[in-house]
Amino acid sequence: GQQVMQIPQYQHVQEGEDFTTYCNSSTTLSNIQWYKQRPGGHPVFLIQLVKSGEVKKQKRLTFQFGEAKKNSSLHITATQTTDVGTYFCAGSSNNDMRFGAGTRLTVKP
Protein backbone atom coordinates (compact mmCIF):
# COMPACT_ATOMS: atom_id res chain seq x y z
CA GLY A 1 0.00 0.00 0.00
CA GLN A 2 0.89 3.63 -0.16
CA GLN A 3 3.61 4.70 2.25
CA VAL A 4 4.79 8.19 3.05
CA MET A 5 8.24 8.67 4.53
CA GLN A 6 9.34 11.92 6.10
CA ILE A 7 12.79 13.09 7.17
CA PRO A 8 14.33 14.19 9.39
CA GLN A 9 12.46 12.97 12.44
CA TYR A 10 13.78 15.83 14.56
CA GLN A 11 15.41 19.15 13.79
CA HIS A 12 16.75 21.61 16.33
CA VAL A 13 17.78 25.02 15.02
CA GLN A 14 18.89 28.36 16.34
CA GLU A 15 16.37 31.12 15.82
CA GLY A 16 17.06 32.72 12.46
CA GLU A 17 18.37 29.56 10.82
CA ASP A 18 16.57 27.86 7.98
CA PHE A 19 14.72 24.54 8.23
CA THR A 20 13.68 21.95 5.65
CA THR A 21 11.66 18.77 5.92
CA TYR A 22 11.31 16.22 3.12
CA CYS A 23 8.53 13.86 2.23
CA ASN A 24 8.68 10.85 -0.10
CA SER A 25 5.90 8.57 -1.25
CA SER A 26 6.18 5.03 -2.54
CA THR A 27 3.46 5.78 -5.10
CA THR A 28 2.48 8.70 -7.32
CA LEU A 29 0.21 11.08 -5.45
CA SER A 30 -2.79 13.02 -6.69
CA ASN A 31 -1.97 15.76 -4.23
CA ILE A 32 0.02 16.42 -1.09
CA GLN A 33 -0.91 18.45 1.94
CA TRP A 34 1.13 19.89 4.77
CA TYR A 35 -0.04 20.25 8.35
CA LYS A 36 1.44 21.74 11.50
CA GLN A 37 0.76 20.35 14.94
CA ARG A 38 1.75 22.32 17.99
CA PRO A 39 2.59 20.40 21.17
CA GLY A 40 -0.67 19.22 22.74
CA GLY A 41 -2.66 20.39 19.75
CA HIS A 42 -4.17 18.91 16.66
CA PRO A 43 -2.97 19.09 13.04
CA VAL A 44 -3.76 22.35 11.30
CA PHE A 45 -3.85 22.56 7.52
CA LEU A 46 -1.13 24.68 5.92
CA ILE A 47 -1.34 24.08 2.18
CA GLN A 48 -2.17 21.68 -0.62
CA LEU A 49 -0.07 21.04 -3.73
CA VAL A 50 -1.64 19.42 -6.76
CA LYS A 51 0.44 20.09 -9.87
CA SER A 52 3.71 18.46 -10.84
CA GLY A 53 6.61 20.78 -9.98
CA GLU A 54 4.35 23.18 -8.11
CA VAL A 55 5.89 25.72 -5.75
CA LYS A 56 3.85 27.75 -3.29
CA LYS A 57 4.94 30.32 -0.74
CA GLN A 58 3.36 31.50 2.48
CA LYS A 59 5.49 34.28 3.95
CA ARG A 60 8.62 32.48 5.18
CA LEU A 61 7.36 29.01 4.17
CA THR A 62 8.06 27.52 0.74
CA PHE A 63 6.39 24.30 -0.37
CA GLN A 64 7.44 22.22 -3.37
CA PHE A 65 5.90 19.24 -5.12
CA GLY A 66 8.23 17.05 -7.17
CA GLU A 67 7.99 16.61 -10.90
CA ALA A 68 7.05 12.96 -10.48
CA LYS A 69 4.51 13.83 -7.78
CA LYS A 70 6.18 11.43 -5.37
CA ASN A 71 8.08 13.85 -3.16
CA SER A 72 7.65 17.20 -1.53
CA SER A 73 9.47 19.60 0.73
CA LEU A 74 8.72 22.38 3.17
CA HIS A 75 11.35 25.04 3.73
CA ILE A 76 11.17 27.69 6.43
CA THR A 77 13.44 30.70 6.07
CA ALA A 78 14.77 32.42 9.18
CA THR A 79 12.92 30.35 11.77
CA GLN A 80 11.16 31.98 14.69
CA THR A 81 10.14 30.51 18.04
CA THR A 82 6.54 30.50 16.82
CA ASP A 83 7.52 27.92 14.19
CA VAL A 84 7.95 25.27 16.89
CA GLY A 85 5.86 22.16 16.31
CA THR A 86 5.66 19.02 14.25
CA TYR A 87 5.23 19.34 10.50
CA PHE A 88 3.43 16.54 8.72
CA CYS A 89 3.04 15.84 5.04
CA ALA A 90 0.00 13.89 3.94
CA GLY A 91 -0.18 12.25 0.56
CA SER A 92 -3.44 11.52 -1.15
CA SER A 93 -4.31 9.07 -3.86
CA ASN A 94 -7.93 8.10 -4.48
CA ASN A 95 -9.91 8.84 -1.33
CA ASP A 96 -7.40 8.02 1.33
CA MET A 97 -4.79 10.13 3.01
CA ARG A 98 -1.50 8.85 4.39
CA PHE A 99 0.50 10.95 6.82
CA GLY A 100 4.23 10.92 7.25
CA ALA A 101 5.63 10.44 10.74
CA GLY A 102 6.37 14.16 10.94
CA THR A 103 9.40 16.32 11.61
CA ARG A 104 9.54 17.84 15.06
CA LEU A 105 11.07 21.30 14.94
CA THR A 106 12.46 23.00 18.00
CA VAL A 107 13.86 26.52 17.87
CA LYS A 108 16.35 27.91 20.34
CA PRO A 109 15.90 31.64 20.95
Binding site: G1, Q6, N31, Q33, G41, H42, P43, V44, F45, Q48, F88, A90, S92, N94, N95, D96, M97, R98, F99, G100, A101, G102, R104
Partner: protein
Protein backbone atom coordinates in the same frame (compact mmCIF):
# COMPACT_ATOMS: atom_id res chain seq x y z
CA UNK B 1 -20.43 24.79 15.37
CA UNK B 2 -17.37 26.68 14.37
CA UNK B 3 -15.13 23.66 14.17
CA UNK B 4 -14.90 19.91 14.56
CA UNK B 5 -15.71 18.75 18.06
CA UNK B 6 -14.98 15.43 19.69
CA UNK B 7 -16.15 13.86 22.91
CA UNK B 8 -15.06 12.80 25.34
CA UNK B 9 -11.71 14.58 25.30
CA UNK B 10 -10.24 11.97 27.61
CA UNK B 11 -11.31 8.39 28.24
CA UNK B 12 -9.82 5.84 30.59
CA UNK B 13 -11.00 2.29 30.09
CA UNK B 14 -10.17 -0.99 31.72
CA UNK B 15 -8.90 -3.66 29.39
CA UNK B 16 -11.85 -5.50 27.92
CA UNK B 17 -14.30 -2.61 28.14
CA UNK B 18 -16.10 -1.19 25.13
CA UNK B 19 -15.75 2.51 24.30
CA UNK B 20 -17.55 4.89 21.96
CA UNK B 21 -15.93 8.06 20.66
CA UNK B 22 -18.02 10.79 19.08
CA UNK B 23 -17.18 13.25 16.33
CA UNK B 24 -19.25 16.27 15.32
CA UNK B 25 -17.88 17.52 12.00
CA UNK B 26 -18.29 20.98 10.59
CA UNK B 27 -21.86 21.36 9.33
CA UNK B 28 -22.17 20.56 5.65
CA UNK B 29 -18.85 18.78 5.36
CA UNK B 30 -19.17 15.76 3.11
CA UNK B 31 -16.03 13.88 4.08
CA UNK B 32 -15.17 12.55 7.50
CA UNK B 33 -11.98 10.78 8.49
CA UNK B 34 -10.88 8.94 11.62
CA UNK B 35 -7.20 8.68 12.53
CA UNK B 36 -5.25 7.06 15.33
CA UNK B 37 -2.21 8.96 16.57
CA UNK B 38 0.27 7.29 18.86
CA UNK B 39 2.67 9.43 20.88
CA UNK B 40 5.36 10.92 18.67
CA UNK B 41 3.85 9.52 15.49
CA UNK B 42 1.82 10.87 12.61
CA UNK B 43 -1.90 10.26 12.32
CA UNK B 44 -2.64 6.77 11.04
CA UNK B 45 -5.64 6.51 8.76
CA UNK B 46 -8.48 4.37 10.10
CA UNK B 47 -11.56 4.99 7.98
CA UNK B 48 -13.28 7.44 5.62
CA UNK B 49 -16.91 8.42 5.13
CA UNK B 50 -18.47 10.31 2.28
CA UNK B 51 -21.78 11.44 3.73
CA UNK B 52 -23.21 8.29 5.35
CA UNK B 53 -21.27 5.86 3.18
CA UNK B 54 -18.14 4.28 4.59
CA UNK B 55 -16.00 4.20 1.49
CA UNK B 56 -12.76 3.03 3.02
CA UNK B 57 -12.21 1.10 6.24
CA UNK B 58 -8.90 -0.42 5.30
CA UNK B 59 -7.09 1.23 8.22
CA UNK B 60 -9.20 -0.27 10.99
CA UNK B 61 -6.70 -2.48 12.84
CA UNK B 62 -9.10 -5.27 13.75
CA UNK B 63 -12.73 -6.28 13.79
CA UNK B 64 -12.93 -4.79 17.27
CA UNK B 65 -13.03 -1.37 15.63
CA UNK B 66 -16.28 -0.17 14.11
CA UNK B 67 -17.30 3.24 12.80
CA UNK B 68 -20.59 4.64 11.65
CA UNK B 69 -22.08 7.87 10.36
CA UNK B 70 -25.75 6.95 9.92
CA UNK B 71 -27.12 10.35 8.94
CA UNK B 72 -24.08 11.72 7.22
CA UNK B 73 -23.14 14.12 10.00
CA UNK B 74 -22.14 12.88 13.46
CA UNK B 75 -19.87 9.85 13.52
CA UNK B 76 -19.06 7.35 16.22
CA UNK B 77 -15.97 5.19 16.47
CA UNK B 78 -16.55 2.16 18.66
CA UNK B 79 -13.83 -0.06 20.04
CA UNK B 80 -14.89 -3.33 21.55
CA UNK B 81 -12.95 -5.29 24.17
CA UNK B 82 -10.26 -2.60 24.41
CA UNK B 83 -6.64 -3.63 24.74
CA UNK B 84 -3.63 -1.70 25.96
CA UNK B 85 -2.30 -1.23 22.43
CA UNK B 86 -5.48 0.72 21.64
CA UNK B 87 -4.20 3.57 23.84
CA UNK B 88 -3.72 6.58 21.57
CA UNK B 89 -5.28 9.86 20.54
CA UNK B 90 -8.17 9.34 18.14
CA UNK B 91 -8.54 12.24 15.74
CA UNK B 92 -11.53 13.06 13.62
CA UNK B 93 -11.28 15.34 10.59
CA UNK B 94 -13.82 16.66 8.14
CA UNK B 95 -13.60 18.18 4.70
CA UNK B 96 -16.15 20.07 2.69
CA UNK B 97 -15.32 18.15 -0.47
CA UNK B 98 -15.81 14.52 -1.38
CA UNK B 99 -12.51 12.68 -1.29
CA UNK B 100 -11.19 15.06 1.33
CA UNK B 101 -8.78 17.81 0.57
CA UNK B 102 -8.20 20.45 3.23
CA UNK B 103 -9.07 18.63 6.41
CA UNK B 104 -10.17 20.29 9.61
CA UNK B 105 -9.21 18.30 12.65
CA UNK B 106 -10.97 18.03 15.96
CA UNK B 107 -9.08 18.20 19.26
CA UNK B 108 -9.00 14.42 19.54
CA UNK B 109 -9.96 11.93 22.21
CA UNK B 110 -7.11 10.59 24.29
CA UNK B 111 -7.88 6.97 25.13
CA UNK B 112 -5.94 5.23 27.86
CA UNK B 113 -6.54 1.52 28.37
CA UNK B 114 -5.35 0.18 31.70
Amino acid sequence: GAGVSQSPRYKVAKRGQDVALRCDPISGHVSLFWYQQALGQGPEFLTYFQNEAQLDKSGLPSDRFFAERPEGSVSTLKIQRTQQEDSAVYLCASSILAGGREQFFGPGTRLTVL
